[in-house]
């Protein structure tokens, strides 16, 4: 760890959650920590409320699908400490069968729509979310379109064949 702030935050995390931290790396000066799914709520709560870390803002929350991995689904959190202008990235990974994650809406209200979007596109269910419904796609859509098993193209087209259009 080159960055002093990153080093300090990681030390604070390891003090409390040493068993739940799977890996940590620093890329382009930003700390990235992969943690276990079951503790994500406790870890974010700790990072927000601890006076040493003080990550008071949720920049982004999104999903990822890597079908070649055993734990193929993931959620990525970006937190920001406004006081020191310091950022951190948290990742959790789990399998499609076990796609239930604790909601962090009660910690950051901004997570509300982000979790809905992640549910909409990846089918990741956030436990404790006040209104986990689709936000961008049509309500009657049956798929979660950013999962790799679902095709990108509109399936109702009859005039485009794969040979001509590279579908």
């Amino acid at each position: 760890m080159e960055n002093e702030l990153n080093k300090k935050v990681l030390e604070e995390l390891i003090k409390v959650f040493s068993d739940d931290i799977k890996s940590a790396e620093e890329s382009y000066g930003m700390l990235s920590v992969t943690v276990s799914k079951n503790k994500i709520y406790a870890i974010i709560k700790f990072l927000k409320e601890n006076s040493e870390t003080n990550f008071n803002f949720l920049t982004d929350l999104t999903g990822i699908h890597l079908p070649e991995n055993k734990e193929d689904l993931g959620v990525i959190y970006h937190l920001h400490n406004f006081y020191k202008n310091h950022r951190i990235r948290l990742k959790i990974f789990f399998s499609t069968q076990d796609s239930y994650v604790d909601s962090i809406v009660d910690l950051y209200s901004g997570a509300n729509w982000m979790e809905r979007e992640t549910f909409d596109f990846f089918g990741i269910h956030f436990k404790g979310h006040p209104n986990l419904t689709r936000i961008l796609n049509m309500e009657d859509m049956l798929i979660h379109p950013l999962r790799k098993e679902f095709p990108l193209e509109d399936q109702s087209r009859k005039d485009k064949n794969d040979a001509m259009f590279g579908r």
Partner: protein
């Protein structure tokens, strides 16, 4: 300023009988002439085609020359629905509702690749052409089309408006077209 002797072009008179103080023609022709030269378009603009339409309405291209000076942002007074831009599947019911709220007679112009066929957006969230939800009279190709093409499209609409029977909405063809799209046909 030099005064030039430019002739003003008037709308072409329909066929008919002319005499001292009277002119007799078919009602359809007279109605068609009036409708054609006073089309109120409803611009349903969602993306870059809308920008080209703004140029079409501006002073340089000036769609007002063709009697479409007045845009109608209420569907209830509009004659022509101009759908310009990508229509997502989530927006499809809104386009349909706008069309449904328009009073007969009404025409639809689909401007650009996206509105006509989905364009480059061959994807799960985009409607693959508005003719899947509402009947379309004229398609303008292009991505986006130039204002000249928009004017050409509007003139094609003019041809339809002038030459169609003023009682088109009562024809069996029209009724079955509307029913094929799931609209109630007027009685």
């Amino acid at each position: 300023m030099e005064i030039t002797d430019k002739k003003v072009s008037l709308a072409k008179m329909p066929d008919g009988h002319e005499g001292a103080g009277f002119f007799a023609t078919k009602l359809d022709d007279a109605v068609g002439l009036a409708r054609k030269n006073s089309i109120w378009p409803l611009p349903f603009a969602t993306s870059c085609c809308g920008i080209e339409f703004m140029a079409t309405m501006g002073a340089h291209y000036d769609l007002a020359r063709y009697g479409s000076e007045r845009l109608s942002f209420s569907p209830r007074q509009a004659d022509l629905l101009m759908v310009m831009g990508t229509i997502s599947k989530k927006m499809a019911p809104i386009v349909r509702q706008v069309y449904e709220q328009m009073a007969e007679p009404k025409w639809v112009l689909s401007m650009g690749a996206c509105a006509s066929s989905g364009g480059i957006f061959d994807t799960y969230s985009v409607l693959q052409g508005i003719d899947r939800i509402i009947p379309v009279d004229v398609y303008i190709p292009g991505c986006p089309p130039r204002p000249e093409q928009v004017i050409d499209g509007v003139l094609k609409i003019h041809e339809l408006v002038q030459n169609e029977s003023s009682r088109r909405r009562y024809s069996e063809d029209y009724k079955s077209l509307m029913e094929s799209y799931g609209f109630e046909s007027g009685k």
